[in-house]
Symmetry: C2
Subunit: 259 residues, 2 copies
C-alpha cells in the first residue's frame, strides 16, 4: 500500500489522469486499486486466472478494472504489454520500481522512529519490501542488521546473492504465494549491497509461526508475512537477547476452511 501510494503520488498530473496499470497476483494489485480510488485515478490490474477468488473480489470492490491473463509470468507480462499499447496508462511494477521501494521504506522509517532495533527482518520475494527496509535502515540506523526471510521452495534470491547474478524464480513451490517472484535489477542491486543475510524457511515453519501470530496477537497474517517470525524462531542463536523488528505485510488468506 505504501509503495503503490507513493508511486502514484510521484506521477505528473497528466500521467495520473491517464491512469495506472500493473500485473499482480494479489496484494500489490489490491493496494494499487485502493490507492488509485483514494486519489480518484483509474487503475487496471492484470491478474492470472488462478488468483484466489478473495483477491479478485477485493480488487473489484476497490473499483479497479481486472484483465485476466494466463498463469505464467510470460502471459501476465504479455497481457499487460498489450493493454499498455492501447492505452496511455503508466505501468507500475509491483516491486522493481524506485518509487515503490521508497514508499515501502516508510514502514521501517516509522518502526525506527519508535524503537531502537538491533535487527530487522523483512519478507523476500521480488525484493521490493526488503529493499525499502534496507534503504531506510541504512540511512536512519546504520548499525541495525537487516535480514531477508525467503521460502526454501522459492530460494532464487538466496542463490542470486550467493552467485552474484539474478537467477529467475522458475518453479517456485511454497505456500507463501506473495514470495514466488524473481528479483528485478533494482531490488537485486539494493539487496546485494546492504543485506546482512538471507534466511531460508520451509513451509511447515512458516505455518507454525502464522498460527502463533493468529492465536496470540489476534492478527490475520498470510504465510508471506509470517515468514519473518518463522525465520527468527528458526535462528534463535542469531537473535537471542537482541531487539528485533519484524516487517509484516499482507493478510490475504482464503478463510473458507475456518468458517
Amino acid at each position: 500500500m505504501r509503495g503503490a501510494m507513493h508511486k502514484i503520488l510521484s506521477l505528473s498530473k497528466e500521467e495520473q489522469e491517464n491512469g495506472i496499470a500493473t500485473h499482480s497476483s494479489g496484494n500489490f494489485g489490491q493496494a494499487l486499486a485502493l490507492s488509485a480510488r483514494m486519489l480518484g485515478i483509474k487503475a487496471t490490474i492484470v491478474m492470472p486466472e488462478n488468483s484466489p477468488q478473495v483477491k479478485k473480489n477485493a480488487v473489484a470492490a476497490y473499483g479497479a478494472r481486472i484483465i485476466e491473463s494466463g498463469n505464467s509470468p510470460q502471459s501476465r507480462e504479455d497481457t499487460l504489454a498489450n493493454f499498455l499499447k492501447k492505452s496511455h496508462a503508466t505501468e507500475c511494477h509491483p516491486y522493481n520500481d524506485k518509487q515503490v521501494i521508497l514508499g515501502n521504506s516508510t514502514a521501517t522509517q516509522e518502526l525506527l522512529e519508535e524503537y531502537d532495533l538491533d535487527d530487522i527482518v523483512a519478507p523476500l520475494g521480488g525484493g521490493g519490501l526488503l529493499s525499502g527496509t534496507l534503504l531506510a535502515a541504512h540511512y536512519l540506523s546504520p548499525q541495525t542488521k537487516v535480514y531477508g526471510a525467503e521460502p526454501q521452495g522459492a530460494n532464487d534470491a538466496f542463490r542470486s546473492i550467493r552467485d552474484g547474478k539474478i537467477h529467475p524464480s522458475l518453479q517456485p513451490d511454497t505456500i507463501a504465494d506473495g514470495l514466488r517472484t524473481s528479483l528485478g535489477n533494482e531490488t537485486y542491486a539494493v539487496i546485494k549491497e546492504h543485506v546482512t543475510e538471507i534466511l531460508l524457511v520451509n513451509d511447515k515453519e512458516i505455518l507454525s509461526a502464522m498460527k502463533l501470530i493468529w492465536e496470540r496477537m489476534k492478527i490475520i497474517v498470510e504465510p508471506s508475512s509470517a515468514i519473518t517470525l518463522a525465520s527468527v524462531l528458526k535462528n534463535k542463536a542469531y537473535f537471542e537477547g537482541r531487539k528485533v523488528g519484524l516487517i509484516i505485510s499482507g493478510g490475504n488468506v482464503d478463510l473458507k476452511h475456518c468458517f
Copy 2:
C-alpha cells in the same frame, strides 16, 4: 482484562497477598490469570472440564492454578466455594462485581475521548461489559444511545428486562460461548436503568459478521465479539447515518479448522 485488573488493584495489600479466585469458562479466567501474574499475585481459576483446550492452555501459560469442575453452573460454583473455604483467597466474580464493571467501563471512556458517538453497542452475556459501557456513556456522553447485543439462543437478558425480573439462562444454545451466562443483581440493575434496547441476533448472523471482521479488518474476534457488528448489520434502520461505536472483546477461537 480491564475488569480483572481493576478488581485486583482495588483489593487491600493483605487481600492481594492471599490471592484471588474465580470460576470462568474462558476469557475472564485468562484475563484474571494474566492480571495476577503482572501484579505478582496468586490466581486460581475453576474451569469446567469441557472448556476449549486453547483456553485451558492460555490460563496455564499465564501461571494460574486450574481446578477442574463439572460442566454445570452449579458444579462450578460448588467447586469454587469448596476452594474458598480452604484458602483465604478473594472471590472475583467475572461480571457481577462493581469493581469489574468499573474496570470494563474504561474501554468506553477511551472510545468517547477519541470520538463523538451517536450510538454504542456492547455484547451482552452476564452483563458486565454492557454495564461498564452504560455507566461510562451515562456520565461522559449522556446523549449517546447504548445497545446490548444478545444471542437469540441465550436471550435471558432480553426477557429479564422485558419482564422486570432476572430470568436465569437455563439452556443457552448459541455459538457465542462467552454470552451464555445469566445476569447478576449488579448488572441487572445497571442495564435496567440505562440500556436503550437489547438487540437479538442469531448464530448465522454472528458468523457472517465475524467472517467480515476477519477478512477486512484482519482481526481475529470470537463470536461473542462479532455479535455487535452483526446487530448493526441486522438493524440498519436504527444506525443508518449515525456514528456508531462497537465494543469488541475477546478473540479466543479454536483455530484447528483453519490450519
